[in-house]
Amino acid sequence: MDIRKSALELSNQERHDFLKALIMLKNTEAFVGADYSLYDQFVALHLAVMEVSYPENQESINGGHWNIGFCPWHREYLRRFELALQQMVPGVTLPYWDWAKNRAIMKELFHDDFMGKLTHAQQLSGRRWWPKDLDSGFFRHSMPLSEAPDWWPEQALGWRIPRPLQSVRYPSSYPNAGRLNATLHRGFLEGLSWPPDEADLDELVHLHVSGTGYHHFWYFWYRLEQGSNMHNTAHNLIGGHMSTGASPNDPIFWLHHANVDRLWALWQSHQIKDHGGNLINHYPQQGDLAPWSDKPAPRGHYLDDLMWPWLGQATSSAVNEDIKTMLPDYSQEAPRRVRDVLDIEALGYRYQLN
């Protein structure tokens, strides 16, 4: 059983192993001769899931956001990423960013020896602010050998963003535009409604809105993904790539979403303990309608729906052609349904209790 720990609890060795696995995945070609890496394929997946088309649906579907499938889709996505990291460094697991421990965790996470600095946006021409590239730490564009730590993988260059996965672009007249355009960006934003405190999170993981005629999971998802100091706010807080669909370019994405997943797992266990039933009872069934529209969630979001892109061979779908070329082929794998990911221990991991 893999144990996911708070980033505050990692030993030096665990932190180095995690970083090494990230750097190795980022510097391993997706296939021989590919100009993108195994890591980049995960970023491409996150971009592609935003707009999935099925022959039967007129409008494209976001298979992983803005509705209840946000939780299960990211759970599967993170677990696959964790297993990919373990291919690089056996035994490594995803740490989580415990939002409520703000002072300690911001100090622990965001420096050159771990997840890189929280660079503030830079001001251009005295009027406009733009996200700034990371120019130090392990996630800079090029790591000078003289500064590489002992654990730095041989042949690893640095953290480079392939063009289809970029979201910030500097004009060619700008100094070092080529490097800046291929580099991880952040634009840390002060003054947001952040962080949540322990009481906010305790309320969230115990939330049980009943008697409305709609399934109670909808209200939990609503607050977790869209709340004023929850998932979306942290994306806005870090800024740069983290505030775009290409957010997994920034490795802090994984720690952030591990915490999202942890909060869902905690909510699941509290629901069963406090209100009975099993994991299936605490997720909307086919036919349960959204409280704001009385309409069903999009395809891929219900218990028995297949989650894109883990559709097996039977289902056809389409995504943006340019991104599609970067995606792994899952057609030979068994399809994955929402119900398959409700139990984290069945997936092979759990969270360390504080």
Binding site: S125, S167, V168, N181, G191, L192, Y222
Partner: protein
């Protein structure tokens, strides 16, 4: 007089932070002024970042009382402006994608005082800014406009994002929004008629599910920040850094 070193400033900052609950607003403002002077005098980015972080931590202590409203899929799209605080914080999910714009509406007729002159005076009485990771803190103009149904005040959402931004509506005078409304719109009205709200309008006529590749930020001194509705195919065809217009 020479300004203190960063190390001294940090030590002084820690001491002040330990007693910040006892400090007056004037004392906090004086400390902030010192930090800002230091920030201006520094050239090294690293030092500036440290000072910026200190400034931000102190700005928190000068925050105005505010009311926070979450605008989201399945959340409210109606914000009551008649509140007893000088600042409203609208947490907007999917700005430019879920929500397209905001409009001030009321239960008042022009005869009751809802006219363009009063609306313009109201618009001039508060500031609007957006906190968005794509562009930091940006000021938003509260536009007074009219259509065939009458006048209204509109606010754009700021930069597009699939995640979130925060819009701050802040009274310039420190008066509450209720007091501003009383002065500019409600002077001659009965209590029952005093209804004013900001309403969010959702994006229509376009899929709201996307969120990946359609937005590319172009850093340019000449251009305003643009929201580019580019398909990935279109964005691939553009040369890096070429100036863009609206697509």
């Amino acid at each position: 007089m020479a300004l203190p070193s960063i190390a001294n400033l940090e030590a002084c900052n820690d001491e002040l932070l330990a007693t910040c609950d006892e400090l007056t607003r004037a004392e906090i403002e004086a400390h902030l002024k010192l930090l800002e002077e230091k920030y201006q005098s520094l050239k090294l980015a690293e030092g500036k970042e440290k000072i910026a972080a200190l400034i931000a931590s102190w700005q928190d202590h000068l925050k105005q009382p505010e009311k926070l409203i979450l605008l989201a899929k399945g959340g409210p799209s109606f914000v009551n402006l008649r509140v007893k605080v000088p600042q409203l914080r609208l947490v907007i999910n999917g700005p430019g994608m879920l929500f397209e714009s905001f409009k001030l509406i009321s239960s008042l007729s022009s005869e009751m005082g809802f006219n363009l002159k009063n609306l313009a005076a109201l618009a001039d009485s508060f500031r609007v800014s957006v906190l968005c990771a794509h562009g930091g803190r940006q000021n938003i103009e509260a536009k007074v406009e009219s259509d065939r149904t009458g006048g209204y005040l509109s606010l754009s959402c700021g930069p597009m994002s699939m995640y979130q931004s925060e819009m701050l509506l802040s009274s310039k005078s420190g008066e509450s929004f209720e007091e501003l409304l009383e002065r500019h719109l409600f002077a001659r009205l009965d209590e029952a008629d005093k209804q004013v709200a900001v309403v969010g309008f959702s994006l229509v006529g376009e899929s709201h599910h996307h969120g990946g590749m359609e937005m590319v930020w172009i850093a340019s001194e000449e251009l305003q920040p643009e929201r580019h509705h580019l398909s990935h195919h279109e964005s691939q065809q553009e040369a890096v850094g070429e100036p863009h217009g609206h697509s």
